[in-house]
């Protein structure tokens, strides 16, 4: 079969046809995957919300409202209700003080501000260092660690790895209003991730932002009307 000649017409037509075919197929694939893509995005959020909140029977995602923090971040809040009563709120909070950029965290607060749980959504911290925040600020799972410890005690000595590593690191069940949510180096109550103080600081910063913004907003609206519906509208207006 002879090769097609490189005339303007041929070139034009070829590229046009190829683009046409490419466009068509892409368009269809896009249509096909659009839903699953959105679904998977949503699923991720749902999972996070679920993880940081107690049992609820409403759809927090549909009752989403926005909060504006003092720093100017816009935080998303997902209220969870059981039998129509507010049992907690999941807040997607943010900080820019991370070791390398933004950190996004979903934190669940009880209506009084006590931390229920958290989930790190996005971060660019160093794997193995800053990334440890995903589990660091939770109660340590001691039993498994102990087991390991005994087996590896010689190696741990060789590598100079000390056990424990910050006894006071969990933020779960603490209320930022009542305890000092800073790393112990800065005079707070929480032990930082070893060798990643910056990330730890940023992490706690994000949590504090969520707490402060939430309680401020609550106090304000409480003073005014006492209904959370208003807050949502207020958020929308901005």
């Amino acid at each position: 079969m002879a090769k097609t000649e490189s005339s303007l017409k041929n070139m034009f037509l070829t590229l046009l046809v190829i683009a046409l075919i490419a466009g068509t197929s892409l368009g269809f694939v896009y249509k096909f995957t659009k839903e699953p893509i959105e679904a998977s995005k949503l699923a991720k959020q749902q999972m996070a919300i679920k993880k940081v909140l107690p049992e609820y029977d409403n759809d927090p995602a549909s009752e989403i409202y926005e909060l504006k923090s003092q720093e100017g971040y816009v935080l998303k809040a997902f209220p969870a209700k059981r039998n129509g009563e507010l049992v907690g709120v999941a807040i997607e909070t943010i900080t820019k003080k991370g070791f390398s950029g933004e950190i996004k965290i979903m934190v669940g607060l009880q209506p009084d501000g006590t931390i229920i749980n958290y989930d790190v959504l996005e971060h660019k911290e160093t794997p193995g260092l800053g990334s440890k925040m995903a589990f660091w600020f939770r109660p340590a799972d001691n039993s498994a660690e102990k087991n390991n410890n005994e087996k590896n005690s010689f190696f741990k000595w060789l590598y100079g790895i000390k056990d424990g590593g910050g006894g006071n690191r969990s933020i779960i069940g603490k209320n930022p209003g009542k305890s000092n949510m800073k790393v112990s180096k800065d005079g707070g109550d929480i032990d930082a991730i070893t060798a990643a103080t910056i990330s730890s600081r940023a992490f706690l910063d994000a949590i504090s932002i969520a707490y402060v913004t939430y309680t401020n907003e609550k106090n304000k609206t409480n003073a005014k009307t006492g209904a959370s519906k208003q807050i949502k509208e207020g958020g929308n207006n901005e």
Binding site: S6, S7, A19, A22, P36, I37, K44, T126, P127, G128
Partner: protein, 195 residues
């Protein structure tokens, strides 16, 4: 026919990573774990096979002057398909591979094979070549990913081999990627010489 040879060629003799040194960015960028390597490798392999096939089919219809742009469009189409599919069905992998998925377009292996092989050969051997190269590439990525994961965090495919604290963090980071690949290539060169 030496279709078998076409296929195995890419696996070892002309392994894109260890001997041709093509597509270095994804090679280094995504191999912080074996899983990522595998994902990226398969994605690239898919694009390679498909674009090789299509290029081999349409090679005679395309005027020389627009050969490269046409190939790029073909490749980009498949890349976008992969991109969207991944995002839809394996979102976590999609996230960890990040920028490197769209960059498959410029991965020199893909265009290179389209140019050097598919545009001169029939569809069947082009597929085989694509598959060979793709699997070779995947193999390379997985080996490198596994090495880095093992040295860096004591795991392979996320399975703990030794406690993470003993790992050398560097290997998960940029410098470790270069160094690990450097030594892997040196070892492979050595094995080739003695073999």
């Amino acid at each position: 026919m030496n279709n078998l040879k076409t296929f195995t060629n890419g696996l070892i003799k002309e392994n894109p990573i260890f001997t041709l040194l093509l597509g270095m960015c994804p090679t280094l960028g995504v191999t912080s774990s074996a899983t990522n390597g595998l994902g990226m490798g398969l994605a690239t392999a898919f694009v390679l096979i498909m674009s090789n096939l299509v290029v081999a089919l349409i090679k005679n219809l395309i005027p020389d002057k627009v050969r490269i742009p046409s190939f790029i469009v073909v490749i980009a189409t498949f890349v976008t398909i992969v991109e969207m599919t991944m995002q839809a069905y394996v979102p976590s992998l999609f996230e960890s591979l990040g920028l490197f998925i769209p960059l498959i377009v410029v991965n020199c292996i893909v265009l290179g094979r389209a140019e050097a092989f598919a545009s001169k050969n029939n569809p069947i051997s082009s597929i085989l070549d694509g598959a060979g190269m793709g699997i070779g590439f995947t193999l390379g990525l997985v080996i490198l990913g596994a090495t880095r994961e093992f040295l860096g965090s004591g795991k392979i495919f996320n399975a703990n081999i030794y406690p993470e604290d003993f790992g050398m963090l560097v290997f998960v980071l940029a410098p470790g990627a270069f160094i690990a690949l450097g030594f892997l290539i040196a070892i492979i060169n050595k094995m080739k010489q003695t073999a």
